[in-house]
Amino acid sequence: MATFFGEVVVAPSRAGVDDEESAEEGCEETPEDRDIRRELEKKREVDVRWTLKSGMRTESSADELFVCSKFILAIGHNAAAFLSSFILDSVCWEVVGAVKLWNEWCRTSSTTNVLPTDSFCLFYRLISDPTVWLCQCSCYVAEDQQFQWLEKVFGCMRKEGLQVTILSTCPVADYKTQESTLTLPSPFLKALKTKEFKEEVCCPLLEQPNIVRDLPAA
């Protein structure tokens, strides 16, 4: 497909992968296909596990929603490393949960004692104010898992009075601007905010036609 120098093309066509042809060619799934699909779906399920204060591992019950006033999510290695270097420590923060998932790109580490090079997704709570939460998500959450991740994590939280901040990074080469990205002083910050966010933003807003995708977008 026609493209320009510097564009990283993910799919063979901008219209997306064309295997919808085979999906829609009239024939419904055979029982074997259905079983295979179900097994694959189970393998790709996102499993959120919360650790209670007493150290017991259990699923969060549907009735008990966590009360959270501030939730900071760091998505990707750089953002997760930022939190590790400047914010997190074992004195003020405690681990309250983890996400286990698998996809073609990564499998999350099964311990909470992780190395910076591991793929993991952990939740922390500020001991002095248990309504302040952090999430470090250095594993890649695939397209078909992003919605599930979102619903399972936020489904456990009370939405009223919740302020969410998402930290993420993108390559400078992906930034669309009139000048060339070579001359841009990098790194630089840009923000997106919902209209409900009334506080001042510490950096300029992301200009059109730039967009954010994947888990931060979800």
Binding site: A2, G16, A23, E24, D144, T177, E207, Q208, P209, A217
Partner: protein
């Protein structure tokens, strides 16, 4: 699936009784989506809601139709609904590709929303691979239409007057048996599925498509939106109708950033 922008207010914004729903298929060259961008931008349509769905890749950005500083900070996501009550028009814009295995679910959910919101008809803008045309299709207009039987009764005559060409069916087993013909829309994404499901559910649907290839698809978008305009007359048809369509600000830099001066 549909979430109205008007939280708690009267659901005037989600009652589209008698409206025409205009929407794109995510297809070759993204022509349908580009054409929809032109419609929303030119008619200055108001956003009335969005689809909360797990069928599309998530994305978010600032208002793609921004014209000034003040209106440039509204967030925009992958599937949004705009309306223009004066023309009884509601438009769905889809901005990202489908997630694998979710096409069927999306089509089902969409069509049941069409029924529940009482839209009178659906117009789907799409495209198909130009390289798959047969000898006859290589000549003449690259634009085609399709109508479900229910809509055929209502507007079939109008298509004849406009001298439009209906999308040809192709042999199911080319070379072996030329009598059995089927509809084949390569590169059309969910077009064929939506069309056949609408036929079976008695929904009035029209498909307008253009044969094209990947590349600079802006001229294809203009051709498709002018084609649509011949029928729906959304803007006045003038000698040079193309210049009447307003290009949205998000179309800037479609082909990359500025060049580094050090290159020269």
């Amino acid at each position: 699936m549909f979430v109205s922008c008007d939280h708690g207010g009267p659901s005037a914004t989600s009652d589209f009784k008698g409206f025409t729903l205009l929407m794109p298929a995510v297809s070759v060259g993204n022509v349908g989506q580009l054409a929809i961008d032109l419609v929303i931008s030119t008619l200055d349509m108001t956003k009335v809601g969005y689809f909360y769905t797990d069928c599309l890749v998530p994305m978010v950005g600032n208002n793609p139709y921004a014209t000034a500083e003040e209106n440039s900070v509204e967030l925009s996501i992958n599937a949004e609904v705009y309306s223009l009550p004066s023309k009884k028009l509601v438009v769905l814009q889809i901005r990202s590709p489908f997630i694998k295995n979710k096409y069927r679910l999306f089509c089902q959910t969409l069509l049941s929303w069409v029924k529940s919101s009482k839209c009178s008809r659906v117009v789907l803008l799409s495209s198909s691979h130009a390289y798959q045309r047969d000898d006859e299709q290589l000549l003449g207009t690259p634009l085609r239409y399709l109508l479900t039987p229910d809509l055929e009764k209502a507007v079939g005559g109008l298509m004849q007057e406009l001298n439009w060409k209906e999308m040809e069916k192709v042999a199911a087993y080319p070379g072996i048996n030329d009598t059995e013909k089927v509809l084949h829309i390569p590169g059309g994404g969910i077009t064929k599925r939506l069309f056949t499901e609408s036929c079976s559910k008695g929904i009035q649907m029209a498909v307008l498509l253009k044969f094209c290839s990947e590349g600079d698809n802006i001229p294809d978008a203009f051709a498709l939106v002018n084609y649509l305009n011949e029928w729906l007359q959304l803007i006045k048809i003038e000698v040079n109708t193309s210049s009447q369509w307003k290009i949205p600000s998000s179309w800037r830099l479609l082909f990359g950033n500025g060049l580094p001066p050090a290159l020269f």
